[in-house]
Amino acid sequence: MSQKNKKKQDIALAKESSPSKDKAMKDKKLERWASIPHEFEAIVVGGGPAGLSAAYTLAKGGVKTLLIERGDFPGSKNVMGGVLYSYPTAQVFPDFWKKAPLERPIIEQRAYLLAEDSAITAGFKDNRFFEEPYNNFTVFRGRFDKWMAGEAMEAGALLVSETVVTDLLYEGEGTGKKVVGVITNREEGTVRGHVVLLCEGANSILAQRAGLQEDLSPGDLACAVKEVIKLPKGAIEERFNVEKGQGVTIELLGEATLGMFGMGWIYTNKDTLSVGVGVMINELSRRGLNPNTVLEKMKNHPALRPLLVEGETVEYLAKIIPEGGYKQVPKLYSNGVLVCGDTAMLVNGVHREGSNLAMTSGKMAAETVIEAKAKGDFSAEALKRYKERLEDSFVLKDLKKYQNVSGLMQTNPHFFTVYPNMARQAAQELFTVNNVPKKEKQKKIIRDIRKKRSLTQIAGDLYRIWRTFG
């Protein structure tokens, strides 16, 4: 062989594949993969509050667990308003405040009813919330969830990131049809598992494809946007009237959402604020509004502007919040599969609770799986205990209590427009000192109110609110 030809052949050998080479390459891979686990007892889809709580509880309970996360790491794609509740978190991670990355313990919760240029405020402050076991904390999901993932891995769960589960793996037909694993977007991407926990957040394609959840409508979902705004050192203590390290939350109603069904908020972190607003998607589209516009307007409200002065926006986040409530809770279990957290619509919009319901549901799903493993039965019959657990707990009890709130608010948009203005006028009248006798002022207030809404209408509204919230 001439030197020139030999060269050509070397190039060919290095660059082109041949059947024998492909086979050898495959053998090599099989050799590399020979010792890895090919089947798990539980596969958790999604590394958010629900999935991480489930994975940790499962691994602690001796269940061979694989956690699959879409983002670079658990937490990288997770968003919430910013409040983590201490009690439900400690039930999964006892004494978590000694180890986890937290921002500030909240010692004061305020509510502002905003009208144009005005605010009626109420609040509760208790210094005992600054002591163990604390009531709640502000956190960044990115950091806190990364910490939870570390705990889960330490307990023995295996984590695979940057991987998307595209479908569930099934076996059997009819009532015997069961989930036996997941299919991912990677090569050789199928993994088998005795049970799959769907914890992939709102708008879960997998839950819909599995026939557990119906298609969601814009009236079931809210869109929340949030900015993390950095403030000068010491500004939080000064502007929110707290001592070093103490935190405040403010919920914002009325003009905060431009009169739409939703809520705004300002939470204090270590040296930043989480400032956000969440509004029902159908309202946004009806008004033709972008959520960023709503947030920008809210930030400019004169009652809030002084809190944000000299702030620098360092992060921008958005999230879909399932607000369908009790009536939209999907089928929570089937053969070989359980549904947790936002995927299960476990959000209490009235009390802005979500991550605690997610963590509790993940824990209860895990406890059910641990029992199922002991019996060697992962059928729907065995997994039914998960739903019973949720029903016996605050999770479904609370959702049931407020099941008509979303409907009431959506059919009575004046709650967010007429009443805040009415309250403002009344307060303004009352607080303005202009030598008008108080009795006349009261008369005027009542006259003004009745111009906007008749006493019968007001009585009807009160009755409906009492029926819905009571």
Binding site: A14, S17, S20, K28, I36, L66, L158, T163, R186, V191
Partner: protein, 281 residues
């Protein structure tokens, strides 16, 4: 002749550094030092391309890829990540006596580890990134090559061919003025640039393997290196000051108002000849 048969496989070692993700690092304006707190650690991006090239060559020719890193115990994260891309074996060199090593000491330690490895099995090729994004020295790869007495090929942008039986490799080097195609005998050490390849989206079993893999830990009791050449003691480099380089000044634009390209060219020549950039013949 089939190079897959017999001894015609290549074993490749990849040297990898775990670095702070400098895209997220900010300089403290007062002290001019890097604010490292809370910054995520990543595989040095150039080293990730070196790993990818090693994996591609192995997949084509056969053999195995062994990844080495010197660093603190946390660097196992990057080595596990390397396994999840498909590397066969990963070793972390970690010891208190290694701490504070400059490029001279680091290349000494890595060379020691590579020599220990070569007592177990032959290494045909060592791949490194062209430089690390935190120190930017580009000295460790060349340091290893010179300690081993191996051919050194820096800034490699393409492996044109590798021939384990002829013990030869041909590569393209990316240079400022163009491209250079070179041939070298094996074993050799290459440092690579980003253009060499695109990093793969690995198969799921490799990710699961990465999650379960226990990285081998070697310390100086395994390597028996000369203590005077390790860590701060073995590092003649000292950092007097760090800072941000001044921004490069904007270039001068010529010929904006000129009609023809010939006019622009003559204008350019007039400017370049006095600077002796273009010899006036």
């Amino acid at each position: 002749m089939n190079i897959m048969e017999g001894a015609f496989v290549i074993n490749i070692a990849v040297c990898l550094k775990q670095v702070p993700d400098t895209s997220e690092v900010r300089l403290d304006p007062k002290t001019n030092t890097l604010k490292r707190e809370g910054i995520p650690s990543i595989i040095n991006p150039y080293d990730a391309h070196a790993l990818e090239e090693a994996l591609t060559l192995r997949d084509q020719v056969g053999g195995q890829v062994i990844v080495l890193s010197m660093g603190p115990p946390q660097a196992v994260q990057s080595l596990k990540k390397a396994i999840s891309y498909g590397a066969d074996r990963a070793i972390l060199l970690t010891d208190r006596v290694f701490a504070g090593s400059d490029t001279l000491a680091t290349s000494y330690i890595l060379t020691g580890a590579l020599q220990k490895l070569m007592q177990e099995e032959p290494i045909d090729l060592i791949l490194c990134g062209k430089q690390a994004i935190d120190g930017d020295t580009a000295q460790v790869g060349p340091g290893i090559a010179s300690r081993l007495g191996w051919p050194l090929l820096t800034y490699v942008s393409k492996v044109e061919k590798i021939s384990p039986q002829a013990r030869e490799i041909m590569v393209h080097r990316k240079l400022e003025e163009g491209r250079e195609v070179l041939r070298a005998s094996l074993p050799a050490l290459l440092t690579v640039v980003k253009e060499i390849n695109e990093i793969r989206y690995a198969p799921l079993p490799d990710l699961i393997r990465g999650a379960t893999y226990a990285v081998e830990i070697w310390n100086n009791e395994d390597l028996h290196l000369d203590p005077t050449q390790l860590g701060l003691k073995g590092s003649p480099t000292w950092v007097s000051k760090t800072g941000t380089p001044p921004l490069r000044e904007k270039g001068e634009m010529l010929g904006k108002d000129q009609a023809s390209s010939a006019q622009i060219a003559s204008l350019l020549a007039e400017r370049l000849i006095p600077d002796i950039v273009v010899p006036n013949r």
